[in-house]
Amino acid sequence: MKCENCDSDNAVIHLTQIVDDEMKTLHLCDRCAAEKGLETSTVPMNLPLTDFLANMGPEERSPAEEMPTRSCSFCALTLAEFKKAGRLGCPHCWSSFEEQLRGLLRRIHGGSQHVGKVYLSPDSSVSEREKRLDALRRKLQRAVELEEFERAANLRDEIRATEPVA
Protein backbone atom coordinates (compact mmCIF):
# COMPACT_ATOMS: atom_id res chain seq x y z
CA MET A 1 0.00 0.00 0.00
CA LYS A 2 1.24 3.49 -0.85
CA CYS A 3 2.07 5.98 1.88
CA GLU A 4 -0.25 8.98 1.54
CA ASN A 5 2.48 11.36 2.61
CA CYS A 6 5.57 10.44 0.54
CA ASP A 7 4.16 7.99 -2.04
CA SER A 8 6.62 5.25 -1.02
CA ASP A 9 5.32 1.72 -1.33
CA ASN A 10 5.36 0.59 2.27
CA ALA A 11 2.54 2.13 4.24
CA VAL A 12 2.50 0.08 7.44
CA ILE A 13 0.75 2.46 9.83
CA HIS A 14 -3.01 2.83 9.44
CA LEU A 15 -4.32 5.62 11.60
CA THR A 16 -8.06 5.99 12.05
CA GLN A 17 -9.19 9.42 13.19
CA ILE A 18 -12.55 11.01 13.68
CA VAL A 19 -12.53 14.58 12.40
CA ASP A 20 -15.73 16.64 12.25
CA ASP A 21 -17.85 13.58 12.84
CA GLU A 22 -16.28 11.78 9.92
CA MET A 23 -14.08 8.70 10.13
CA LYS A 24 -10.80 8.98 8.17
CA THR A 25 -8.01 6.47 7.87
CA LEU A 26 -4.47 7.63 7.04
CA HIS A 27 -2.02 5.15 5.55
CA LEU A 28 1.58 6.05 6.29
CA CYS A 29 5.03 4.52 6.04
CA ASP A 30 7.12 4.11 9.19
CA ARG A 31 9.19 7.23 8.56
CA CYS A 32 6.29 9.59 7.84
CA ALA A 33 4.42 8.21 10.87
CA ALA A 34 7.42 8.91 13.04
CA GLU A 35 7.66 12.44 11.62
CA LYS A 36 4.05 12.99 12.59
CA GLY A 37 4.94 11.87 16.09
CA LEU A 38 2.89 8.67 16.08
CA GLU A 39 3.70 5.89 18.53
CA THR A 40 4.45 2.89 16.33
CA SER A 41 5.66 0.24 18.74
CA THR A 42 3.32 -2.63 19.45
CA VAL A 43 2.12 -4.05 22.76
CA PRO A 44 4.92 -6.09 24.33
CA MET A 45 4.06 -9.74 24.76
CA ASN A 46 4.12 -11.20 28.22
CA LEU A 47 7.28 -13.23 28.58
CA PRO A 48 6.32 -16.86 29.10
CA LEU A 49 7.73 -18.59 32.14
CA THR A 50 9.68 -21.10 30.09
CA ASP A 51 11.70 -18.21 28.68
CA PHE A 52 12.57 -17.13 32.18
CA LEU A 53 13.64 -20.67 32.92
CA ALA A 54 15.66 -20.95 29.73
CA ASN A 55 17.39 -17.75 30.78
CA MET A 56 18.66 -19.31 33.98
CA GLY A 57 21.94 -19.28 32.07
CA PRO A 58 25.01 -21.38 32.85
CA GLU A 59 27.23 -18.51 33.99
CA GLU A 60 24.85 -17.16 36.58
CA ARG A 61 23.03 -20.31 37.58
CA SER A 62 25.74 -22.89 37.39
CA PRO A 63 24.25 -25.16 40.11
CA ALA A 64 21.21 -25.67 37.90
CA GLU A 65 23.26 -26.46 34.85
CA GLU A 66 25.51 -28.87 36.64
CA MET A 67 22.71 -30.82 38.25
CA PRO A 68 19.85 -31.27 35.81
CA THR A 69 19.25 -34.71 37.30
CA ARG A 70 19.06 -33.39 40.83
CA SER A 71 15.65 -34.36 42.10
CA CYS A 72 13.15 -33.63 44.84
CA SER A 73 13.40 -36.23 47.60
CA PHE A 74 9.62 -36.27 48.05
CA CYS A 75 8.11 -36.36 44.54
CA ALA A 76 11.25 -37.15 42.49
CA LEU A 77 10.76 -34.22 40.11
CA THR A 78 14.11 -33.33 38.54
CA LEU A 79 15.39 -29.84 37.95
CA ALA A 80 15.43 -30.54 34.23
CA GLU A 81 11.76 -31.54 34.31
CA PHE A 82 10.90 -28.36 36.19
CA LYS A 83 12.76 -26.22 33.69
CA LYS A 84 10.85 -27.87 30.89
CA ALA A 85 7.33 -27.68 32.32
CA GLY A 86 7.62 -24.63 34.57
CA ARG A 87 5.65 -26.36 37.32
CA LEU A 88 6.85 -27.78 40.62
CA GLY A 89 5.63 -31.16 41.80
CA CYS A 90 5.03 -30.74 45.54
CA PRO A 91 5.63 -28.37 48.46
CA HIS A 92 8.94 -30.09 49.20
CA CYS A 93 10.32 -29.10 45.76
CA TRP A 94 10.58 -25.56 47.12
CA SER A 95 13.18 -26.74 49.66
CA SER A 96 14.90 -29.14 47.26
CA PHE A 97 15.53 -26.43 44.67
CA GLU A 98 15.57 -23.48 47.06
CA GLU A 99 18.70 -21.87 45.66
CA GLN A 100 17.61 -22.07 42.00
CA LEU A 101 14.10 -20.91 42.82
CA ARG A 102 15.33 -17.90 44.77
CA GLY A 103 17.12 -16.65 41.66
CA LEU A 104 14.07 -17.31 39.52
CA LEU A 105 11.75 -15.48 41.94
CA ARG A 106 14.00 -12.42 41.82
CA ARG A 107 13.53 -12.33 38.07
CA ILE A 108 9.77 -12.86 38.16
CA HIS A 109 8.75 -10.91 41.25
CA GLY A 110 11.79 -8.71 41.90
CA GLY A 111 12.55 -10.48 45.17
CA SER A 112 12.02 -13.71 47.07
CA GLN A 113 10.74 -12.58 50.47
CA HIS A 114 7.00 -12.99 51.10
CA VAL A 115 5.54 -10.03 53.00
CA GLY A 116 1.83 -10.88 53.06
CA LYS A 117 -0.19 -13.07 55.39
CA VAL A 118 1.82 -15.22 57.77
CA TYR A 119 0.55 -18.75 58.14
CA LEU A 120 1.00 -20.64 61.38
CA SER A 121 0.96 -24.37 61.42
CA PRO A 122 0.71 -26.02 64.85
CA ASP A 123 4.50 -26.43 65.15
CA SER A 124 5.40 -22.85 64.21
CA SER A 125 8.30 -21.20 65.98
CA VAL A 126 8.10 -18.16 68.24
CA SER A 127 9.51 -15.82 65.58
CA GLU A 128 6.88 -16.91 63.06
CA ARG A 129 4.21 -16.26 65.65
CA GLU A 130 5.64 -12.76 66.13
CA LYS A 131 5.56 -12.19 62.37
CA ARG A 132 1.94 -13.26 62.20
CA LEU A 133 1.07 -10.93 65.08
CA ASP A 134 2.75 -8.06 63.26
CA ALA A 135 0.77 -8.82 60.11
CA LEU A 136 -2.49 -9.06 62.06
CA ARG A 137 -1.83 -5.75 63.82
CA ARG A 138 -1.20 -4.05 60.46
CA LYS A 139 -4.50 -5.45 59.22
CA LEU A 140 -6.29 -4.25 62.35
CA GLN A 141 -4.90 -0.75 61.96
CA ARG A 142 -6.03 -0.68 58.35
CA ALA A 143 -9.50 -1.98 59.20
CA VAL A 144 -9.89 0.78 61.82
CA GLU A 145 -8.72 3.41 59.33
CA LEU A 146 -11.29 2.18 56.83
CA GLU A 147 -13.95 2.01 59.56
CA GLU A 148 -14.53 -1.69 58.93
CA PHE A 149 -15.43 -2.26 62.56
CA GLU A 150 -16.79 -5.77 62.36
CA ARG A 151 -13.59 -6.90 60.65
CA ALA A 152 -11.55 -4.99 63.22
CA ALA A 153 -13.32 -6.80 66.06
CA ASN A 154 -12.61 -10.17 64.46
CA LEU A 155 -8.97 -9.25 63.97
CA ARG A 156 -8.68 -8.14 67.60
CA ASP A 157 -10.00 -11.55 68.71
CA GLU A 158 -7.52 -13.27 66.43
CA ILE A 159 -4.63 -11.22 67.83
CA ARG A 160 -5.66 -12.18 71.36
CA ALA A 161 -5.79 -15.83 70.38
CA THR A 162 -2.34 -15.67 68.78
CA GLU A 163 -0.60 -13.71 71.54
CA PRO A 164 1.40 -15.82 74.00
CA VAL A 165 -0.41 -16.30 77.29
CA ALA A 166 1.22 -13.99 79.84
Binding site: T16, I18, V19, D20, D21, E22, M23, E39, T42, V43, P44, N46, L49, F74, C75, L77, A85, G86, R87, L88, G89, C90, P91, W94, S95, L101, R102, L104, L105, I108, H109, G110, G111, S112, Q113, H114, V115, G116, K117, Y119, S121, E128, A135, R138, K139, R142, L146, E148, R151, N154, E158
Partner: protein, 376 residues
Protein backbone atom coordinates in the same frame (compact mmCIF):
# COMPACT_ATOMS: atom_id res chain seq x y z
CA UNK B 1 -30.15 -34.02 35.40
CA UNK B 2 -30.56 -34.40 39.15
CA UNK B 3 -27.02 -33.23 39.80
CA UNK B 4 -27.57 -30.21 37.55
CA UNK B 5 -30.35 -29.00 39.73
CA UNK B 6 -28.02 -27.83 42.48
CA UNK B 7 -25.97 -25.58 40.21
CA UNK B 8 -28.80 -24.31 38.06
CA UNK B 9 -29.04 -20.97 39.82
CA UNK B 10 -25.73 -20.94 41.56
CA UNK B 11 -22.99 -18.39 41.20
CA UNK B 12 -24.80 -15.71 39.27
CA UNK B 13 -24.80 -12.98 41.92
CA UNK B 14 -22.09 -11.17 39.94
CA UNK B 15 -24.60 -10.52 37.16
CA UNK B 16 -26.89 -8.26 39.14
CA UNK B 17 -25.06 -5.04 38.21
CA UNK B 18 -25.14 -3.89 41.82
CA UNK B 19 -21.54 -2.84 42.45
CA UNK B 20 -19.73 0.41 41.80
CA UNK B 21 -19.33 1.35 38.10
CA UNK B 22 -21.31 -1.78 37.16
CA UNK B 23 -21.83 -0.47 33.60
CA UNK B 24 -18.06 -0.44 32.97
CA UNK B 25 -16.88 -3.07 35.45
CA UNK B 26 -18.77 -6.31 34.96
CA UNK B 27 -17.22 -8.14 37.88
CA UNK B 28 -14.47 -8.29 40.47
CA UNK B 29 -12.75 -11.55 41.23
CA UNK B 30 -10.12 -12.46 43.80
CA UNK B 31 -8.55 -15.88 44.03
CA UNK B 32 -6.02 -17.49 46.36
CA UNK B 33 -3.86 -20.49 45.46
CA UNK B 34 -3.27 -22.87 48.37
CA UNK B 35 -1.64 -26.30 48.65
CA UNK B 36 -1.68 -28.87 51.41
CA UNK B 37 1.42 -30.25 53.09
CA UNK B 38 2.54 -33.76 52.25
CA UNK B 39 0.91 -34.14 48.82
CA UNK B 40 2.20 -33.73 45.29
CA UNK B 41 0.27 -31.23 43.20
CA UNK B 42 -0.52 -30.38 39.59
CA UNK B 43 0.60 -32.89 36.96
CA UNK B 44 2.75 -34.63 39.60
CA UNK B 45 -0.22 -35.48 41.82
CA UNK B 46 -1.09 -39.19 41.86
CA UNK B 47 -4.51 -40.66 42.36
CA UNK B 48 -4.01 -41.01 46.13
CA UNK B 49 -2.85 -37.38 46.44
CA UNK B 50 -5.91 -36.12 44.62
CA UNK B 51 -8.28 -38.30 46.57
CA UNK B 52 -6.67 -37.39 49.89
CA UNK B 53 -6.96 -33.67 49.13
CA UNK B 54 -10.63 -33.95 48.20
CA UNK B 55 -11.33 -36.10 51.27
CA UNK B 56 -9.72 -33.49 53.52
CA UNK B 57 -11.89 -30.78 51.98
CA UNK B 58 -14.96 -32.97 52.50
CA UNK B 59 -14.15 -33.65 56.12
CA UNK B 60 -13.50 -30.05 57.18
CA UNK B 61 -16.09 -28.17 55.12
CA UNK B 62 -18.80 -28.57 57.76
CA UNK B 63 -16.55 -26.80 60.29
CA UNK B 64 -15.84 -23.82 58.00
CA UNK B 65 -18.63 -21.30 58.35
CA UNK B 66 -18.39 -19.81 54.85
CA UNK B 67 -18.74 -23.18 53.11
CA UNK B 68 -20.78 -25.05 55.71
CA UNK B 69 -23.77 -25.31 53.40
CA UNK B 70 -21.68 -25.72 50.28
CA UNK B 71 -22.23 -28.28 47.57
CA UNK B 72 -19.14 -30.25 46.67
CA UNK B 73 -19.46 -31.23 43.02
CA UNK B 74 -17.03 -33.81 41.78
CA UNK B 75 -16.52 -33.13 38.09
CA UNK B 76 -16.43 -36.79 37.11
CA UNK B 77 -19.93 -37.22 38.46
CA UNK B 78 -21.33 -34.34 36.40
CA UNK B 79 -22.39 -34.71 32.78
CA UNK B 80 -20.39 -32.84 30.16
CA UNK B 81 -22.97 -30.06 29.77
CA UNK B 82 -23.04 -29.33 33.51
CA UNK B 83 -19.28 -29.07 33.51
CA UNK B 84 -19.40 -26.59 30.65
CA UNK B 85 -21.99 -24.59 32.53
CA UNK B 86 -19.56 -24.28 35.45
CA UNK B 87 -16.95 -23.04 33.00
CA UNK B 88 -19.34 -20.55 31.40
CA UNK B 89 -20.21 -19.22 34.86
CA UNK B 90 -16.49 -18.82 35.57
CA UNK B 91 -16.71 -21.18 38.56
CA UNK B 92 -14.36 -23.69 36.99
CA UNK B 93 -11.34 -23.10 34.78
CA UNK B 94 -10.42 -24.69 31.47
CA UNK B 95 -7.50 -26.31 33.32
CA UNK B 96 -9.82 -27.96 35.83
CA UNK B 97 -11.80 -29.57 32.99
CA UNK B 98 -8.73 -31.47 31.81
CA UNK B 99 -8.17 -32.57 28.24
CA UNK B 100 -11.27 -32.30 26.12
CA UNK B 101 -12.65 -35.66 25.13
CA UNK B 102 -11.42 -37.47 28.21
CA UNK B 103 -13.30 -37.46 31.52
CA UNK B 104 -12.02 -35.09 34.23
CA UNK B 105 -9.26 -36.43 36.46
CA UNK B 106 -10.37 -38.15 39.67
CA UNK B 107 -10.63 -35.79 42.63
CA UNK B 108 -11.24 -32.62 40.61
CA UNK B 109 -14.15 -30.83 42.21
CA UNK B 110 -15.80 -27.48 42.78
CA UNK B 111 -17.01 -26.40 46.22
CA UNK B 112 -19.98 -24.10 45.70
CA UNK B 113 -21.17 -22.10 48.69
CA UNK B 114 -24.89 -21.73 48.23
CA UNK B 115 -25.45 -18.50 50.13
CA UNK B 116 -22.16 -16.63 49.57
CA UNK B 117 -20.30 -15.67 46.40
CA UNK B 118 -17.36 -17.92 47.25
CA UNK B 119 -16.21 -21.17 45.70
CA UNK B 120 -13.18 -23.45 45.72
CA UNK B 121 -11.64 -25.38 42.85
CA UNK B 122 -10.10 -28.60 44.13
CA UNK B 123 -7.16 -30.33 42.43
CA UNK B 124 -6.58 -27.84 39.67
CA UNK B 125 -2.96 -26.78 39.14
CA UNK B 126 -2.88 -26.20 42.90
CA UNK B 127 -4.73 -28.28 45.48
CA UNK B 128 -7.08 -25.42 46.26
CA UNK B 129 -8.08 -22.29 44.41
CA UNK B 130 -10.33 -20.19 46.64
CA UNK B 131 -12.29 -17.57 44.76
CA UNK B 132 -14.93 -14.93 45.12
CA UNK B 133 -16.79 -13.22 42.30
CA UNK B 134 -18.74 -9.99 42.88
CA UNK B 135 -20.66 -7.59 40.67
CA UNK B 136 -19.04 -4.25 39.79
CA UNK B 137 -15.85 -2.83 41.27
CA UNK B 138 -15.59 -4.20 44.82
CA UNK B 139 -12.00 -5.28 45.29
CA UNK B 140 -11.66 -4.60 48.99
CA UNK B 141 -14.93 -6.32 49.81
CA UNK B 142 -13.94 -9.32 47.69
CA UNK B 143 -10.56 -9.56 49.40
CA UNK B 144 -12.03 -9.30 52.91
CA UNK B 145 -14.51 -12.06 52.15
CA UNK B 146 -11.88 -14.36 50.70
CA UNK B 147 -9.46 -13.58 53.52
CA UNK B 148 -12.07 -14.79 56.04
CA UNK B 149 -12.57 -18.02 54.11
CA UNK B 150 -8.81 -18.51 53.91
CA UNK B 151 -8.32 -17.91 57.65
CA UNK B 152 -11.02 -20.41 58.54
CA UNK B 153 -9.84 -23.02 56.07
CA UNK B 154 -6.20 -22.57 57.10
CA UNK B 155 -7.06 -23.45 60.68
CA UNK B 156 -8.53 -26.76 59.55
CA UNK B 157 -6.18 -27.72 56.72
CA UNK B 158 -2.36 -27.81 56.89
CA UNK B 159 -1.29 -25.33 54.19
CA UNK B 160 2.10 -25.63 52.55
CA UNK B 161 3.96 -22.51 53.67
CA UNK B 162 7.60 -21.43 53.62
CA UNK B 163 9.05 -18.76 55.93
CA UNK B 164 10.70 -16.97 53.00
CA UNK B 165 8.60 -17.84 49.94
CA UNK B 166 5.17 -17.65 51.61
CA UNK B 167 2.31 -19.85 50.39
CA UNK B 168 3.79 -22.50 48.11
CA UNK B 169 2.30 -23.09 44.67
CA UNK B 170 2.93 -25.31 41.70
CA UNK B 171 3.90 -22.38 39.48
CA UNK B 172 6.50 -19.88 40.76
CA UNK B 173 4.46 -17.02 39.27
CA UNK B 174 1.78 -17.58 41.95
CA UNK B 175 3.93 -18.10 45.04
CA UNK B 176 3.94 -15.78 48.07
CA UNK B 177 0.45 -14.45 48.56
CA UNK B 178 -1.03 -16.83 45.94
CA UNK B 179 -3.34 -13.93 45.20
CA UNK B 180 -4.71 -12.96 41.82
CA UNK B 181 -7.19 -10.10 41.85
CA UNK B 182 -8.90 -9.32 38.58
CA UNK B 183 -11.46 -6.88 37.31
CA UNK B 184 -13.46 -7.51 34.14
CA UNK B 185 -13.82 -4.18 32.34
CA UNK B 186 -15.77 -3.11 29.28
CA UNK B 187 -13.67 -0.53 27.42
CA UNK B 188 -15.31 0.14 24.03
CA UNK B 189 -14.49 3.84 23.78
CA UNK B 190 -10.80 3.25 24.49
CA UNK B 191 -10.85 0.61 21.73
CA UNK B 192 -12.73 2.85 19.27
CA UNK B 193 -10.37 5.75 19.85
CA UNK B 194 -7.41 3.32 19.81
CA UNK B 195 -6.26 4.72 23.14
CA UNK B 196 -6.41 1.19 24.50
CA UNK B 197 -2.92 0.45 23.14
CA UNK B 198 -1.42 3.04 25.46
CA UNK B 199 -3.45 1.79 28.40
CA UNK B 200 -2.38 -1.82 27.86
CA UNK B 201 1.23 -0.77 27.43
CA UNK B 202 1.04 1.21 30.64
CA UNK B 203 -0.30 -1.77 32.57
CA UNK B 204 2.87 -3.82 32.29
CA UNK B 205 4.85 -0.85 33.58
CA UNK B 206 2.79 -0.77 36.78
CA UNK B 207 2.95 -4.49 37.44
CA UNK B 208 -0.43 -5.39 35.99
CA UNK B 209 -1.47 -7.61 33.11
CA UNK B 210 -4.64 -8.30 31.13
CA UNK B 211 -6.49 -11.30 29.74
CA UNK B 212 -9.68 -12.04 27.86
CA UNK B 213 -13.14 -12.92 29.15
CA UNK B 214 -12.37 -16.48 30.22
CA UNK B 215 -9.06 -15.80 31.92
CA UNK B 216 -5.63 -17.09 31.11
CA UNK B 217 -5.06 -17.87 27.46
CA UNK B 218 -8.41 -16.50 26.31
CA UNK B 219 -8.89 -13.85 23.65
CA UNK B 220 -10.37 -10.42 24.09
CA UNK B 221 -13.98 -10.47 22.86
CA UNK B 222 -16.62 -7.75 22.98
CA UNK B 223 -14.10 -5.20 24.26
CA UNK B 224 -13.91 -6.96 27.63
CA UNK B 225 -10.53 -6.86 29.33
CA UNK B 226 -9.63 -8.63 32.53
CA UNK B 227 -7.04 -6.58 34.41
CA UNK B 228 -5.05 -8.29 37.16
CA UNK B 229 -1.88 -8.17 39.23
CA UNK B 230 1.16 -9.67 37.54
CA UNK B 231 3.28 -10.50 40.57
CA UNK B 232 2.22 -12.23 43.79
CA UNK B 233 5.35 -12.05 45.93
CA UNK B 234 6.95 -9.16 47.79
CA UNK B 235 3.81 -7.13 48.48
CA UNK B 236 1.06 -7.69 51.01
CA UNK B 237 -2.35 -8.83 49.82
CA UNK B 238 -3.81 -5.45 50.78
CA UNK B 239 -1.18 -3.58 48.78
CA UNK B 240 -1.79 -5.77 45.71
CA UNK B 241 -5.55 -5.22 45.92
CA UNK B 242 -5.27 -1.47 46.57
CA UNK B 243 -2.82 -1.01 43.73
CA UNK B 244 -5.12 -2.75 41.27
CA UNK B 245 -8.06 -0.71 42.58
CA UNK B 246 -6.18 2.55 42.00
CA UNK B 247 -5.20 1.65 38.44
CA UNK B 248 -8.67 0.36 37.55
CA UNK B 249 -10.20 3.63 38.73
CA UNK B 250 -7.76 5.48 36.53
CA UNK B 251 -8.64 3.31 33.52
CA UNK B 252 -12.35 3.97 34.22
CA UNK B 253 -11.65 7.71 34.07
CA UNK B 254 -9.79 7.26 30.74
CA UNK B 255 -12.74 5.27 29.38
CA UNK B 256 -15.24 7.90 30.53
CA UNK B 257 -13.11 10.60 28.94
CA UNK B 258 -12.87 8.63 25.67
CA UNK B 259 -16.67 8.30 25.68
CA UNK B 260 -17.02 12.06 26.06
CA UNK B 261 -14.63 12.55 23.17
CA UNK B 262 -16.70 10.18 21.00
CA UNK B 263 -19.93 11.95 21.87
CA UNK B 264 -18.39 15.37 21.31
CA UNK B 265 -16.46 14.71 18.09
CA UNK B 266 -18.53 11.98 16.48
CA UNK B 267 -22.03 12.02 17.96
CA UNK B 268 -23.84 10.69 14.90
CA UNK B 269 -21.28 7.95 14.13
CA UNK B 270 -21.40 6.85 17.75
CA UNK B 271 -25.17 6.89 18.00
CA UNK B 272 -25.50 5.09 14.69
CA UNK B 273 -23.13 2.37 15.84
CA UNK B 274 -25.11 1.87 19.03
CA UNK B 275 -28.53 1.83 17.35
CA UNK B 276 -27.36 -0.52 14.60
CA UNK B 277 -26.08 -2.91 17.24
CA UNK B 278 -29.38 -2.70 19.08
CA UNK B 279 -31.38 -3.19 15.88
CA UNK B 280 -29.44 -6.30 14.94
CA UNK B 281 -29.75 -7.83 18.38
CA UNK B 282 -33.44 -6.96 18.57
CA UNK B 283 -34.37 -8.53 15.22
CA UNK B 284 -31.64 -10.97 14.12
CA UNK B 285 -32.72 -14.60 13.60
CA UNK B 286 -29.27 -16.13 13.99
CA UNK B 287 -26.32 -14.94 16.06
CA UNK B 288 -22.91 -16.49 16.66
CA UNK B 289 -21.48 -15.92 20.15
CA UNK B 290 -18.81 -13.68 18.69
CA UNK B 291 -21.43 -11.62 16.80
CA UNK B 292 -23.41 -11.34 19.97
CA UNK B 293 -20.47 -10.16 22.05
CA UNK B 294 -19.53 -7.48 19.52
CA UNK B 295 -23.11 -6.20 19.22
CA UNK B 296 -23.65 -6.41 22.96
CA UNK B 297 -20.60 -4.20 23.38
CA UNK B 298 -22.27 -1.43 21.34
CA UNK B 299 -25.53 -1.82 23.21
CA UNK B 300 -23.76 -1.83 26.57
CA UNK B 301 -22.05 1.42 25.62
CA UNK B 302 -25.41 2.87 24.59
CA UNK B 303 -27.00 1.83 27.88
CA UNK B 304 -24.16 3.31 29.86
CA UNK B 305 -24.43 6.59 27.93
CA UNK B 306 -28.21 6.59 28.48
CA UNK B 307 -28.79 6.56 24.72
CA UNK B 308 -30.95 3.44 24.99
CA UNK B 309 -33.52 4.35 27.63
CA UNK B 310 -35.26 1.49 29.40
CA UNK B 311 -32.50 -1.04 28.93
CA UNK B 312 -30.79 -2.27 32.08
CA UNK B 313 -27.18 -3.41 32.49
CA UNK B 314 -28.53 -6.42 34.36
CA UNK B 315 -30.39 -7.63 31.25
CA UNK B 316 -27.21 -7.35 29.19
CA UNK B 317 -25.21 -9.28 31.80
CA UNK B 318 -27.85 -11.96 31.79
CA UNK B 319 -27.68 -12.28 28.00
CA UNK B 320 -23.90 -12.66 28.17
CA UNK B 321 -24.18 -15.69 30.43
CA UNK B 322 -27.33 -17.39 29.20
CA UNK B 323 -26.49 -17.05 25.50
CA UNK B 324 -23.36 -19.19 25.91
CA UNK B 325 -23.54 -22.61 24.23
CA UNK B 326 -23.97 -24.87 27.28
CA UNK B 327 -26.57 -22.57 28.80
CA UNK B 328 -28.55 -22.58 25.54
CA UNK B 329 -28.42 -26.38 25.46
CA UNK B 330 -29.53 -26.55 29.07
CA UNK B 331 -32.52 -24.32 28.28
CA UNK B 332 -33.36 -26.38 25.17
CA UNK B 333 -32.96 -29.62 27.11
CA UNK B 334 -30.84 -31.19 24.38
CA UNK B 335 -27.56 -30.87 22.50
CA UNK B 336 -27.54 -28.21 19.77
CA UNK B 337 -25.54 -28.02 16.57
CA UNK B 338 -23.64 -24.81 16.01
CA UNK B 339 -26.27 -23.54 13.55
CA UNK B 340 -29.12 -24.42 15.93
CA UNK B 341 -27.25 -22.77 18.74
CA UNK B 342 -27.06 -19.51 16.74
CA UNK B 343 -30.83 -19.58 16.18
CA UNK B 344 -31.56 -20.31 19.85
CA UNK B 345 -29.19 -17.52 20.83
CA UNK B 346 -30.96 -14.97 18.63
CA UNK B 347 -34.34 -16.08 20.00
CA UNK B 348 -33.18 -15.69 23.60
CA UNK B 349 -31.77 -12.23 22.91
CA UNK B 350 -34.98 -11.10 21.16
CA UNK B 351 -37.08 -12.37 24.05
CA UNK B 352 -35.01 -10.61 26.72
CA UNK B 353 -34.79 -7.36 24.76
CA UNK B 354 -38.50 -7.31 23.96
CA UNK B 355 -39.56 -7.95 27.54
CA UNK B 356 -36.88 -6.18 29.52
CA UNK B 357 -35.57 -3.39 27.37
CA UNK B 358 -38.19 -1.37 25.59
CA UNK B 359 -36.43 1.22 23.51
CA UNK B 360 -38.41 3.38 21.09
CA UNK B 361 -36.96 6.88 20.83
CA UNK B 362 -37.99 9.16 17.98
CA UNK B 363 -41.15 7.18 17.44
CA UNK B 364 -42.69 8.05 20.77
CA UNK B 365 -43.69 11.52 19.64
CA UNK B 366 -46.67 11.40 21.98
CA UNK B 367 -44.48 12.15 24.99
CA UNK B 368 -42.09 14.36 23.07
CA UNK B 369 -38.89 13.71 24.99
CA UNK B 370 -38.33 9.98 24.71
CA UNK B 371 -38.75 9.34 28.44
CA UNK B 372 -37.59 5.90 29.50
CA UNK B 373 -40.36 3.37 29.58
CA UNK B 374 -40.78 1.13 32.54
CA UNK B 375 -38.89 -2.10 32.17
CA UNK B 376 -40.27 -5.44 33.19
Amino acid sequence: MSEMHSIRDFGLAWLDASGEYADIVLSTRVRLARNLQGHAFGPRARLNDRTAVLNQVHSVSSRVELVRTADIQELRKLDARSRRILLERRLASIDLMGDSGSPPAPGTAVVLALDRPVSIMVNEEDHLRLQTLLSGLRLREAWNLLDSLDEELGEELPYAYHHEFGFLTSCPTNVGTGLRASVLMHLPALVLTKEIVKVLQGLSQVGLTYRGLYGEGSEVVGNFFQLSNQTTLGKSEEDLVDHLDRIVRQVIQYEIHARQVLLRDAPSVTEDKIWRAYGLLRYARSLSFEDLMNLLSGVRLGTSLKLLPGLRVYSLNKIMVFAQPAHLEEAAGRDLSSAESDVHRATLVRRILSTEGVVTPGEDSHDGNGAPEASG
